[in-house]
Subunit: 285 residues, 2 copies
């Protein structure tokens, strides 16, 4: 089946678009976390979102989640790691499964300012963004995992079971009792290797030989997610309709630039949804 629209990301921008597209009975596949927005959920106080007086991020995220359920929106808890333009529609790769959609909305959150040294070059050559997809390749091998997304701690657990030796860096105080696990003293700064990633380097200069590295961040750099996507600095470049340089592919929310605000994300998601409706209706003619 080809979906009308694939929405990548479950923050306020993705939700705003999903609500509008659902009202118009579009076939939606919505990728993200059932927790919706980790960033919203962790905000202490939100005072400037119209219609919801002074609230905690947790409460607002709960309201978002309830609203999505009431509207019958379903979430696909898979991580999109690659998107390709097939001319008249798009192909998305999520946890080794492919999905097809006529239009795409990227609402992936604040992009990585920059990756590790050599990350782009070695991606797919010993460097992976998805333990579920590529973990099996590293059975009984030495692996490093860099994780800054607490929701993905199950992926670390999975790697513990597979790898003979696992070096772990997280920014959320992950601990393990497993014998094969060693916590890194700091974040990974650089990846090394020519044909394949064969070692990592920490900020203090420590070098460690590995067979592979898993990088698990909340958001994948847009340029990695969708090759050829035009950027403006680290952000996805969009026009006033939120369309990217790929016709039919839109972006909304933090990934398109500052201000990193709920109201702005919600507005852009709405604009993108209307542009998508217009495009779908033109295609149907």
């Amino acid at each position: 089946m080809i979906y009308d629209v694939a929405i990548v990301g479950t923050g306020p921008a993705g939700l705003s678009a999903a609500l509008t597209l659902k009202l118009h009975n579009k076939e939606i596949i919505w990728f993200g976390s059932t927790l919706l927005s980790d960033k919203v959920g962790k905000s202490e106080k939100i005072a400037n979102y119209p219609g919801v007086p002074m609230t905690s991020g947790a409460d607002l995220n709960k309201a978002f989640s309830d609203q999505a359920k009431e509207m019958g929106l379903e979430l696909t808890d898979k991580k999109v790691t690659n998107i390709a333009d097939l001319g008249d529609h798009f192909m998305l790769l999520a946890d080794n499964e492919t999905f097809e959609a006529r239009t795409v909305l990227l609402s992936t959150g604040i992009p990585q300012a920059k990756g590790m040294e050599n990350e782009d070059r070695l991606l797919g050559m010993g460097v992976s963004y998805c333990a579920t997809c590529d973990g099996f390749l590293y059975k009984d091998k030495t692996v490093a995992v860099y994780c800054t997304d607490e929701r993905m701690d199950h992926d670390i657990k999975y790697l513990e079971e597979i790898a003979s030796k696992l070096y772990v860096y997280t920014n959320f105080g992950y601990t393990s009792d497993a014998d094969n696990v060693e916590m890194l003293t700091g974040p990974i700064k650089k990846l090394d290797g020519t044909m394949k990633c064969d070692s990592i380097e920490l900020a203090d200069g420590t070098k460690i030989d590995v067979d592979g590295v898993f990088i698990l961040r909340p958001a994948i750099a847009p340029s990695t997610l969708f090759t050829g996507l035009e950027l403006d600095g680290a952000h996805i470049k969009v026009d006033r309709n939120q369309e990217t340089n790929y016709k039919g592919c839109y972006a909304a929310g933090d990934c398109t630039g500052r201000p990193y605000q709920i109201a702005k994300a919600v507005g852009e998601g709405n604009v993108a949804a209307h542009a998508i409706l217009e495009r779908l209706s033109e295609q149907a003619k």
Copy 2:
């Protein structure tokens, strides 16, 4: 006193900007109606505004109003009829009073697609947008009033007291017992006169001699409000920061274009507020 920012319009875009600017302790003058948004208030159901599940427009408008009050935002219930760029700041004319502000946000709602024939040419020559301002000029004279904004029915009342004869057209079933009032059978289509408006013409061809005409609409055409403002069709042209062709003057919400949606307005108001904060901080250097 020179305000940091003058916000023209109390719909969702204006409110969104006002909340953010108030949080940053800016000196705000906020022009509009204490009813906030007539358009929101009259919406039957709103299903796609994130954070507020399926609601009536009246309830959402009430929530907006309560939130504005809680945040200590004050409204100035005057109608801005003219804005001028004075180089390093702006001058606004509202009900014959002038106000000064370093930056301006236009959130004036859906613009008039087009005015009556000859309206632009005869404005200020027997044609007025403000009964409070210009009513006294028509004491004991024959006047026509065209009103499509129910909140301004007090202006019709005021003209009844002043004029010797008052022709009235409204789209909200206004009635009057006054002897000097005659209801028009349809809207005014054309204004006539060379140096001064001296007659009106209805859609059915009826011509009526008058000394003056008051046109009371919810929104004034942006080109009339601010001469030289660059438009895109009937909408105010803005960049990704919501800035117009006048540096320091921003626009947000329906007045910048479709979709005419609360989420879009709220998002643009937020973006404009952040651009304004940045500009004010640069000016302060």
